[in-house]
């Protein structure tokens, strides 16, 4: 009995939380397979709404820093998520921005091309199959009076924020979702106490091209193709074939999964070490291999080949980019 108690006392406390995300990050934790038993041996899972019942109030009652590690996935879309981010920051010794959403906004961050008003109109008032007719223009309110008292909903923000734009973050884990190997590496580092300096991204410092086995020559692009327009050959670099492969600007760690199966890298691992703005780095790299010195031709190649520049260059990183969102005053279409 005493041995069991001792063992229990030595266990760390682990929390896994999700904010504006899809739940894929939780699934990716299970991809570490049998090693999950090692995680269980080292930690008690004190809070993880995805797989276990837990109460926020139990976390509120904890002492500050009582949770050893919190893996936080998801961006901050509303006030409730901001509350949870602040709470878990306070209660955790180590807070990890787990995955692309928490680190750089990811796909939900693309909503930063809109604001609350236009998102609400799309969701609650466009009469499509998923959005009912709403003739009375009823939208979610922060406060609603009912006979029983006042009901509150979280405040939905115009701009989705990353975790680091909201609270102090200790480590970042890239990927949508993070790779099992890298998750394990992070957990091992935390358990053994061999942690990198605060603020580091846990992963490798190279790009997807380094892990990609395709043949690479000098890149010269006359025309960009969308993925459905051509069937690329399986040997040559996809960018050289005119597909917008983001591997040149994207942090490695995935083993070049997408290019290996003939699909261009879409950049889910985010920027490499020392890069301020993922999209700027990708733009810079792609622009330099366009094979033209004629201003008009360059404009044409870009306009025809990249119809959705923000969705191409900032697919995963808009919220975490230097500009973070579109100009509110022009509502995203630039006109």
């Amino acid at each position: 009995m005493s041995q069991v108690t001792e063992k229990k006392a030595a266990k760390g406390k682990l929390a896994i939380y999700w904010a504006s995300s899809c739940g894929g990050c939780e699934i990716s934790i299970l991809q570490i397979d049998a090693k999950i038993l090692d995680v269980d041996a080292a930690f008690d899972l004190v809070f993880c709404p995805c797989i276990a019942d837990g109460k926020v109030r139990d976390i509120e009652k904890m002492a500050d820093g009582e949770i050893d590690v919190c893996l936080f996935n998801g961006g901050i879309r509303n006030s409730e998520q901001e509350y949870m981010a602040r709470l878990l920051r306070k209660k955790s010794k180590v807070l990890v921005a787990f995955g692309s959403c928490a680190s750089e906004g990811c796909i939900p961050g693309l909503a930063n091309l809109n604001d609350r008003k236009s998102i609400f109109e799309t969701v609650y008032n466009q009469g499509s199959a998923t959005t009912p007719d709403n003739p009375q223009d009823i939208y979610p309110q922060h406060e609603t009076q009912v006979p029983e008292g006042t009901l509150y909903l979280p405040v939905f923000y115009d701009t989705l924020k990353t975790l680091a734009q909201t609270v102090d973050v200790d480590y970042f884990l890239p990927g949508c979702p993070p790779e099992a190997d890298n998750i394990w590496k992070a957990i091992e580092a935390i358990v053994s106490g061999k942690l990198p300096p605060k603020g580091a991204t846990i992963g490798v410092d190279t790009t997807v091209c380094d892990e990609c086995k395709r043949k690479k020559n000098e890149k010269k692009i006359k025309k960009f193709h969308r993925t459905w327009e051509i069937i690329p050959d399986a040997e040559t670099c996809l960018l050289e074939q005119g597909l917008m492969c983001c591997g040149i600007a994207t942090r490695a760690g995935c083993g070049a999964l997408c290019p290996t199966v003939n699909s261009p890298c879409i950049g889910c691992h985010g920027p490499n070490e020392g890069v301020d703005d993922y999209g700027a780095r990708l733009m810079s790299a792609v622009a330099s291999v366009i094979d033209s010195n004629n201003e008009e031709e360059i404009d044409r190649i870009i306009a025809e080949g990249i119809p959705d520049p923000v969705g191409t260059f900032y697919r995963f990183s808009l919220a975490g980019s230097l500009l973070r969102r579109c100009n509110k005053a022009t509502a995203g279409n630039g006109h």
């Binding site: 109030r57 520049p309 100009n327 995203g332």
Partner: protein, 164 residues
């Protein structure tokens, strides 16, 4: 939008070999140009990473000028063509983000073209003044009732009946 009292803040990236010397020449020749531009010397217009421009705008600049050697006259053979392509792709993206294309401009000025550079700066200042302030960080302002909403959650949790 035009506001006579609005003084645009312009960040200017000038290449070491041509346009920075053009700016120097404008100075020694006492050619007047708008004082709104803050010139930063870079070795080549090809050194101007799009992130420099984005950082300037995100830090409160109203416009950005990139100036380099004329096409074919680059000190590093053809890096100004890379600047041309990066400018094109950046403009394409900025338009989608709601930044008016007139705010970011690429111009060519040789070391002898102090007058032309001064005119290009004046023109950019006139155009940006017409557009008004960009105030990019204002786009991130927090929504109303945010702090209240954060406090409400705590209050609700305190008031709620605990079931065990």
């Amino acid at each position: 939008m035009a506001n006579e009292n609005f003084e645009p803040k312009i960040v200017g990236f000038c290449c070491n070999w041509c346009s920075y010397r053009a700016a120097d020449l404008a100075g020694t020749a006492r050619i007047k140009y708008a004082p709104n531009v803050r010139v930063i010397r870079v070795m080549c217009s090809g050194r101007v990473d799009p992130s420099f421009v984005l950082k300037a705008l995100a830090s409160g600049a109203d416009g950005v000028l990139i100036a380099g050697c004329h096409p074919g006259e680059c000190h590093y053979i053809e890096q100004n063509y890379k600047a041309m392509r990066r400018y094109s792709i950046l403009k394409h993206t900025l338009r989608a983000m709601g930044v008016e294309p007139d705010r970011v401009r690429l111009v060519w000025a040789s070391a002898a073209e102090g007058q032309q550079l001064a005119e290009a700066i004046d023109q950019l200042v006139v155009d940006v003044r017409k557009l008004g302030p960009l105030k990019w960080p204002g786009n991130w302002s927090e929504n109303g009732h945010r702090e209240e909403a954060l406090e409400t959650i705590l209050k609700e949790h305190e008031e709620a009946v605990e079931v065990s």
